[in-house]
Amino acid sequence: MHKWVPALIPTLVAGVFANQAIAGEINLKVNIPQINTAEYHRPYVAIWIEKPDQSVEKNLAVWYSQKKATNGDEGTKWLKDLRQWWRKSGRDQFMPLDGVSGATRPVGEQTLNFTEGKEPLGTLPAGEYNLVVEAAREKGNREMIRIPFTWPVQKIDRAKGVGQQELGDVILELKP
């Protein structure tokens, strides 16, 4: 009982401000690097918000192949290669995830905007979080980036994660 009451206050406050059209925003730039290889497939990518205990608070995006292969394999066959996301959330979901899942994205900067009060972000209790981006590519490698942030947002803030192989720069912009 004691735990959730203080946690609720910022939500209530945010609720008051929501009436004045002030809602927190998470803007993301996820760079998918160009990889020179004989056979390139776009990576599968999962993006989610993680609590300090590393459990999943919100799924923000899952990009995977929407095509059915000629041998009947569905794109969902390889979702388990997003290993962390799969064991923490993916295996408990029914794909496609409304407003979250979509087709794989091409090389370059992918921009995503999430607004408080709107799905898939919805309401986020005050606290410490990580933004997690996980990528896995067929005939390629796997990589995961974590960027810590605090919610609700007090002032415009910006944080960057730097990928080494399957991800380029991941830029997290927070707006109150």
Binding site: E39, A69, T70, N71, D73, K139, G140, N141, R142
Partner: protein, 265 residues
């Protein structure tokens, strides 16, 4: 022969994407034996070496050649959904060569907007591909897969002078982690520059980076390789030239695939 090609083309049409070939491999249960015994083999088509997660390998064109040159017939052949399995009793002392040779012609063309494809013999190709086919591309393919198992001491391996082949400075069943090895690649028996080679250690599921090693042969057809860790390695070498056996094709795509076991120091 026709039967083999039918199966081959079927296997290829079943893979997810044709322009993008999956790897294929055969892996023995042991490569170094101190007494004659049975060895079992797994064979599959997959992106991840030695992990059967895609299709079984069609092994109709596979041979197991004993040290004296005779052929050993595989037994207990089973083609499952994800892998093919067979056993072989290795009774002689020396090195057994398991090889799978596949050759033929691959054609791509267009009928209207539809992409058409064919794989098979030169004779069948002449029949199947319509006269004046649009955007017709014909490639001759020559593929060799190998793996080796030795009972007792390793014996010298001979090349055939046909297609893409490998000569190693250390016998393939005598590889130790951390020791440098020189690989010499031959095309129709001649050391050849510019052959692209990829090596991947197995068990990629258990690491985030596949640690793929890429090489290109020098003017003597050679690459120097150090295999830092013990384990099973998958090698894939590819080369394209114009030495076609039929005027139907403009180019020849040669491929060589090998499974190696490297033991700890």
């Amino acid at each position: 022969m026709k039967h083999i090609f039918t199966l081959l083309s079927l296997a290829i049409s079943m893979s997810a994407s044709v322009a993008h070939a999956h790897g294929y491999w055969v892996v023995p249960s042991s490569t170094v034996l101190s007494s004659p015994q049975f060895v079992t083999f797994d064979a599959a088509v997959s992106n991840d070496p030695f992990q059967f997660n895609h299709r079984p390998l069609v092994v109709d064109s596979l041979s197991i050649i004993a040290p004296d040159g005779s052929k050993v017939l595989p037994v207990n052949l089973m083609k499952g959904e994800l892998r093919t399995v067979f056993d072989a009793k290795l009774e002689q002392k020396g090195t057994y060569r398991l090889e799978m040779l596949r050759s033929g012609f691959r054609a791509n063309w267009k009928e209207g907007d539809k992409a058409k494809r064919f794989m098979g013999t030169a004779e069948a190709l002449a029949k199947e591909v319509p006269d004046g086919a649009k955007e017709l591309q014909v490639t001759e393919t020559v593929n060799r897969l190998e793996t080796f198992v030795t009972v007792g001491a390793p014996t010298t391996l001979k090349t055939t002078g046909k297609g893409l082949e490998l000569v190693m400075s250390t016998h393939p069943n005598d590889l130790v982690a951390g020791e440098p090895v020189e690989f010499e690649f031959l095309v129709d028996g001649q050391p050849t520059e510019g052959i692209e080679v990829v090596m991947i250690r197995g068990q990629t599921r258990y690491r985030n980076n596949k640690e793929e090693q890429k090489y290109k042969t020098d003017k003597d057809g050679k690459i120097s390789v150090t295999l830092p860790e013990a384990g099973l390695y998958w090698l894939d070498a590819d080369f394209t030239d114009n030495n076609v056996s039929s005027k139907l094709a403009k180019e020849r795509a040669l491929a060589y695939v090998l499974t190696l076991e490297v033991l700890p120091q």
